[in-house]
Amino acid sequence: MTTQQKIRDALKHYGTMMAAVIIILVFSLLRPDAFFTLQNLVNISRQISLLVIVAIGATLIMVMEEFDLSLGALASLGGIIGATLAVSGVPILFAMLAAVLGCALIGLFSGWLITKFNVLSFITTLAMSTIITGIIFAITGGSTVFQGVPRSYRSVGTSMVLGIPLLTIIMLLLTVLFWFIMRHTPFGRKLYAIGGNQKAALVSGIPVKRMKVIAFALCAGLSGLAGVLLSSRLGSAHPSGGDGLFLQAYAAVFLGKTMFRGGVANIWGTLVGSIILGVLANGLTIMQVPTFMQDLLTGCIIIMALVLQKIGAKTDDE
């Protein structure tokens, strides 16, 4: 293997990881006093936690080469259901559980529609996101839910365990759990098989439809959970509070696709993708870079990470 091939190989496998390390190094050098501190590490881990949770859900869907465009709306709905139930006196745990289950049911329904009628997931979930927005406005009348949100509801999103935010712990547990599921269980392997070649998966006896329905339900449940945790973190639920997570989640998954498994969505990659997005937003704010420049830089860095990985991947084609 020539040096050039080695570089390409390194770029292909570790390009995204290297980008993350370089970005962290640059910020650490420029603002060691504010960026490279334990406090800020805690901040970043908390800030990306909700994105990671939604992005794990998106990863399950992307593994099957499908799309769920209702992630953001589901996150908004999760927050609204959780906060509304908490305000009406339902015990916090049940309120949160109901929100997650409610969203999972919607995902189940989307998955059923997609597999039963063989319709495009792209369009079905887009339509579903509109329906969810309608449900949110029916519940809230367009208002933010904040009056009467119990203080205990905020505790999940704001409390710390041994100096680590509870949100970070939840994120790490879910990351490990879903990494294990995707890597070491028949369920995960079947999802990858469906994404690799759906017809072959079907012929080899994999219950493709059932797997897809479960994946959509899991994805929706995770989005709902992120929404609940967001409303807990903020102490309020905004009718479109989770919408912003949608594009970011897919950006994280696409960044992560460039890692480890040669262009296939994977959990660790998604985590690194989320870290890149989170560190960029955090570091650029700390460096007081104006918003427009933050957008420009973030976009450029994502494109560069993708292109560099593609250059590395050319080794295989040649």
Binding site: L30, R31, A34, G142, R233, G235, A281, M287, P290, M304
Partner: protein, 306 residues
Amino acid sequence: MKKLLALLLVCTMMLSLAMSVSAEDLKGKKVSLLTANLSSVTTNQMAEYMKKGLEEHGIEVTVVDTKGDFGQLASRIEDSVSAKADAIVLISADPVLVLSQLEVAFEAGVPVFGCDSGFVEGMQVNATSDNYMMGEAITRYLFNDLMGGKGSVIALTHRPHPGVVKRSNAFDDIIKEYPDIKLITEQHVEVPGPIESARTIMENLLLSNSAKDSVTAVWCAWDEPAIGATQALMDAGRGEVFVTGVDGNSQAVELINEDSNLKATMAQNFEGMANIVVTEVVKLFSGEEVIPGEQYAPALLITKTE
């Protein structure tokens, strides 16, 4: 190709470096202006007024916009605390929505101001208009002077905004006093993109209310939906429908003077609000006493005749 990419990467990093170095070279206090809606003309105006006013005092100002995302806004507040900002100013963002993060700022001793936001315990000053009074004044003008106490009205609003919801509450209270005025529907206007959203809503409502005089007026909680609604009405040739807004933004005032459907707005004194914040921030930095609470910049009714 690879060289070009490498060059781009280097340029991007250098640009970040250059920007940070220039920022660090500046002396004086650091203030973060944080908003979730900088694309709004008025929010933008306030940010600009404050930036200018604070920089005149040698204060270093950063404007951060999270484009409608309150989760991101919460994160950026945390970042500003990490970056040891000397003060945070929330623009057009309800502090209640980011209360946990503001509490982190309060604990870290970072003073928090609001500009057209809201006020929570622990904040310094929120400069705003009395939104309920503005809603009341414009609603009474519409119902009495324009509609003559009867007819049907469409309301376009955005209740998640802390100021806007007070205007809508005033509308809700006052319409009860007018039995001859019927509310056709209240519609939620999307933000960002309120002009386009209101225009689309209005176009659709006109299809279901196509007869002349089936709609007497459109009450808009702020100027941007009023502009969108006016555009839709003008396109449809429905010159008989009155539109009112609130804010007094320049595009709306222009439409009022052009004899369009838009008849009146309440001029919010955004410059006044920004000036209040600048004054209070400077007072705080100079060691003077700042009395916590809301301060109102007075609003004015704008019509063509005035």
